[in-house]
Chain length 300, copies 4
Amino acid sequence: MIRTVRYWDPETHAVHLGLLRDGQVYSITRRVPAFTDPLPVWYTFRALDLSVEEGFARLVDGVQPMASYEELAAQSALLPPVDAREVWAAGVTYERSRQARNAETKLQDSVYDRVYEAARPEIFFKATRERVIAPGQPLGLRSDSAWMVPEPELSLVLTAAGDIVGWTLGDDLSSRDIEGENPLYLPQAKVFSRSCSFGPVLLWNTGAEVPAGWTLTLTIRRGGDIAFQGSVSLQQLRRPFEELVAYLRRDNPVLDGTVLMTGTGIVPPDEFTLQPGDTVDIELPEIGVLRNPIAAPLGK
Amino acid sequence: MIRTVRYWDPETHAVHLGLLRDGQVYSITRRVPAFTDPLPVWYTFRALDLSVEEGFARLVDGVQPMASYEELAAQSALLPPVDAREVWAAGVTYERSRQARNAETKLQDSVYDRVYEAARPEIFFKATRERVIAPGQPLGLRSDSAWMVPEPELSLVLTAAGDIVGWTLGDDLSSRDIEGENPLYLPQAKVFSRSCSFGPVLLWNTGAEVPAGWTLTLTIRRGGDIAFQGSVSLQQLRRPFEELVAYLRRDNPVLDGTVLMTGTGIVPPDEFTLQPGDTVDIELPEIGVLRNPIAAPLGK
Amino acid sequence: MIRTVRYWDPETHAVHLGLLRDGQVYSITRRVPAFTDPLPVWYTFRALDLSVEEGFARLVDGVQPMASYEELAAQSALLPPVDAREVWAAGVTYERSRQARNAETKLQDSVYDRVYEAARPEIFFKATRERVIAPGQPLGLRSDSAWMVPEPELSLVLTAAGDIVGWTLGDDLSSRDIEGENPLYLPQAKVFSRSCSFGPVLLWNTGAEVPAGWTLTLTIRRGGDIAFQGSVSLQQLRRPFEELVAYLRRDNPVLDGTVLMTGTGIVPPDEFTLQPGDTVDIELPEIGVLRNPIAAPLGK
Amino acid sequence: MIRTVRYWDPETHAVHLGLLRDGQVYSITRRVPAFTDPLPVWYTFRALDLSVEEGFARLVDGVQPMASYEELAAQSALLPPVDAREVWAAGVTYERSRQARNAETKLQDSVYDRVYEAARPEIFFKATRERVIAPGQPLGLRSDSAWMVPEPELSLVLTAAGDIVGWTLGDDLSSRDIEGENPLYLPQAKVFSRSCSFGPVLLWNTGAEVPAGWTLTLTIRRGGDIAFQGSVSLQQLRRPFEELVAYLRRDNPVLDGTVLMTGTGIVPPDEFTLQPGDTVDIELPEIGVLRNPIAAPLGK
């Protein structure tokens, strides 16, 4: 398993890309200053005909670790694992999501039923680079929503050509009441300040990973207790990755490092809504834990 | 009336901001190298307590024009009049649009009727800077849509605080069939390669402009003929600018130079769809003509 | 008197340009985000036909100060007062300097005598932007020099066209023994890591300043004592500013914000050399005090 | 022999790094978008434990050439082969240079004799990135000099740590009369507009190159004739590369991609001076030909 992080290195006052191994972080950037992001590394390995494992083995050969992952997290030094200029997302890719979104709305002939079955999936723009929140940093509630939930999503990291560089975890923080009021309000339910985070690491695609065998767990803590916990198997994802990527890229060239969130299969009960002070943990053992506290709406 | 353009100056190989007066373009950038975009100029005039007219009068006092507007357009030197990193749009802000979008869909209890009347307007993300097409450059059709139209929209240019710096014209090129199939497909109907253009100038807000008195005209030419032409009065815009800006910015800080398209009130007949080779002209006399040719879908 | 500083604003995590008045700093950047450096402000005032005093009076009208100058200095938040990409310097512009440099060398028919009298002054490249040390930050000694002194110099801040935007203080830290060994070693005596600082403020050229009436004082402290102190009147500067600027710019276009140090008229006794831990203060009452500690040579 | 070029690719409107093989240019940038300059490639090969030959063989395996070198040169598409932010130079490193510089001056106890023999070489700052002229572009004469010559110099391309990435050719265009008048005028004799070019390729250091066996030739054409031609063997270079690099870097950290010109061993007769319209060719068979036309001084 190859996992990388991006972090702010206090010594050099610069962004570093690091390999995460046994809880320790080995700086790739110290060996190749131009490597501050996974995409150039991906292109380099491919152009040099090196497997991901062989490439990283060479890159860190004889190198001492910079710090432990826990130290970086504790110092709020973690950055999104990819410098993504655009984050997109898919919706209604799990049966559980279809059920939940139907429950939000009063429409008959549900748009959610139809998109679940249709050839064309639901794909939407989620965030620009400026709007992405780093792992560990707070996501923020909307001032005009009384029903908000995190949406834990396995996320793909793509090249411009649609290759899957690897996977990470994403939180598509959403307003269920604004969305439920009218599907035309989806952008306002999805795209706002501090509504998107992904990380904490990039799990590289070496060809050996089997996402269908993965399980994603959402845990929301409030005070000292668990306010909600749920899991879903990736087997419940009804859309193949390749199909989501194909629709994303149709007539729509994307940039290297684009993140595509693949939809949520875990939805808290309808009576649950996030509160300031909650902590959201999205976990997938092969990737790690994406943790974000929840903050109150911005003042105005 | 104060109108500015941005263009590529071949002499200095750089982006220039210019004042447009009597068909001639006077470079502001030659006098103040840092002024390559309207926003810094707006902030400067406000901070120095100068009216827009007084400020520009001083900036071009005694200056010779660089070129005529027609020359710049003919040389494909025009750039978007604002360096906007984000373009957003509003929908169903005219009665004509409500009718048209209802016609696209088979849903009862129309989401379009509801958003037309509701307190919350439809607001969506339209384009990132990389996805904006300059005036005069081609917009592109989708390969999987058989029903596409330009959406001519008066557009606001905003500061981060929501001040209206001025107005420009925008084309929210859209796929009516993809949208009509399911409102969850709106992003795919709206956000794709070469789907957004705005310009050709920025008409500055001096306090003397009366948008309610404006008329916007769409002319689509095919071969040597006019394939469609229609007009709408801005009086038909049912949402005040301030309301659209307020909803855009709610829990959603925007960047200086954000463009907000205010919706379309001109919709060709249902049987009309754009073809490669068409030319789309969006005209509002106080602003000018935004012209974009229509190109075939990207190959893949 | 108009004086500006540049500093790192911890609230916005950005570079700010500020007006210094009565010990308080008023952020210009908060009013006009594009104004992070004096040069755009200079061009703007000139293009808008505003005097420097009138322009700054308007810019800070009704504005509350950000911080005191002393606070910024104490927090090491001061930056060079101009974002200069190039720093140049003149030599042997004072009789005292001619004497001193003659004492360093064993050559007859002294190159220093000749350049003092000749039409063409001595002009040399001193530092790139990366090599400029901010006010308050340490300058560094060379590992291979046993005789080093600061060279306190009134410095001009220029536009590309050679206009004097204003004045600041500069320290042209130099190795007297390396230079004295052979004038061909001047670059190595002048251009090395941490060999150049300027500031702390920019005193703007309003037309009312009379540099010939200024006095520059150098004070070097060691332990708790004054190890050296000396002064020189600007009347001792034998080269007019315009002449130095003309020679700098001959066949040599310079960038906006170029700093030109005008030579030193204060030279400690021959037996004096700087030591790590010394503090160097260069003072001119109309400008302020440029303070830099002296650090030991870099390890290797 | 591994040789790379940098050029402007008209298709992608971007800077490309290319491998030059049998007169054809293979774009490296097309395979790895982050590789637009040699230094990241050098660091990558070293970090991945690949020899330069093995690395480049893999990078261009199966790739079709972009264009021929001659085509790029004819289109003025060549750029300096390294994106160097600083260019430095050494002087009096050949006997012939010592003789020539003595002839320029009237000083006894010549500074040139002394620096030729001394432990410390002459090292000086030659150009910033903005002042570097690309291969094929014009170098410019000074308006106040009647005696100017090109100085053809083998040049080193360095990492920040002082490793020799490879070699290229450099032209240290100089004014012999300004320098001869007083060595304190060296910067004005060396550092001015259009006074520095290097290229046309970077010859990579694979460990197999033997610079001591190289011969450098200078050919100056005027009208249809050869106005001057001369050669020098690198065996005449009296300073080892490592020594020049060591003195450059002493107390003076340099940036990745710094170019160090190693001095000239070819000097035209004293009666020769460049004229506008001349063409200067600097040739070393293992590297290629650096060609620059000579332009008249800038107007003022």
